[in-house]
């Protein structure tokens, strides 16, 4: 039962334009229909190819890994982590902001790798890149 008219607008993964003070990264700025045009994929594995199995499992693993990364490196992730799978290995690439002293990053990275490798029973590699500030593409 509707009490008002339907609003046919797309809201998925889009940053709405504001007064010019909002800093957005390249990733955030390009909406989802630009994937495969101006954007790449954040998650790379073979399960979505024709005749391959395990797509749902990989997706579920990705969801958990993203939440895990968001929580472990809280406030430090500049961009959503890119998850790549190469045969058995799980590679998580992330760009992090230098908010905490480096030795803490060493601990967090090794902690992530060990915990996730025990969880998913496969080698997990973390490839981190640090930046001073979030890489801003535009102010909208």
């Amino acid at each position: 039962m509707h009490t008002s008219a339907a609003c046919s607008k797309h809201f998925a993964a889009r940053v709405r334009v504001s007064k010019g003070t909002k800093a957005v990264t390249y990733e955030e700025f390009n909406p989802p229909h630009q994937i495969a045009h101006r954007k790449g994929w954040l998650s790379q594995h073979t399960s979505n190819l024709d005749g391959e199995e395990g797509a749902a499992k990989r997706t579920l693993e990705d969801v958990f890994i993203r939440r895990f990364m968001y929580g472990t490196f809280h406030g430090c992730l500049a961009t959503p982590p890119v998850i790549k799978r190469r045969a058995n290995i799980l590679i998580i690439c992330a760009i992090i902001i230098r908010r905490i002293p480096p030795f803490k990053y060493h601990f967090l990275a090794t902690y992530t790798e060990t915990l996730l490798s025990y969880l998913y029973k496969c080698p997990v590699k973390l490839e981190l890149q640090t930046v001073e500030h979030k890489p801003v593409y535009k102010y909208i």
């Binding site: 199995e53 799978r85 690439c93 760009i95």
Partner: protein, 228 residues
Amino acid sequence: RCNSSVNLKIPNFLHLTPPAIKKHCAALKQFCTKWPEELDTDEKCEVHFPIEVQISDYISAGPSIRNPKSRVVTLNIRLSSLNLDDHARKKLIWLVGHRYCKQTDILTIKTDRCPLRKQNYDYTFYLLTVLYHESWKVEPWEASKSREDMEIYKWDGSPSEATLNEIMVNIRQAEHKPAPTVDELRTSEEIKSYSESVEMLKNVGETDQNMHNYKEAVLRLFRLQHAA
């Protein structure tokens, strides 16, 4: 600038470049034996190794190396390399149905009903053995093979022959001439060419050449001249 799209998202296939593959091959070479020099042509390979078995391995990105598609086993063999007499060959072809290709004379047996590849492999060879032995056996009910069961159309003894003979007799009767003898009908050139054209049509199919030959044979049979 640390743009994740540029730095992180590009999947690289550098592990599949020709120099990398060359290194892999070089490393594996020490475990391989040399190809026998005597087997330098495909024909020689087929003479010595008539059976071809195809199996497939699958790799994907994920923690498991198992793929259910890898249990499929396909066996190819040319029937000419099997010791079959005429009856056995016909029976084997009838038994296997769509698994036999007439153009290449190759029998293909594909198994995937067992969960493991080894089981499917053994089952494939078991099937081949059973087919071979069964095709050599002559069962008592095979004696009741009728014209409908024949693989090739033979004009001798067919309803077409009976009808034609009747027509020939009627023609002679209409011309007030004595009825043709059995020998006359069998050795007549026109009837022979007609029987050959009918057999071609039934066995090979309706091609332009076959239809033309049939037309010529019928016209010749009834001594009619075709329009120039």
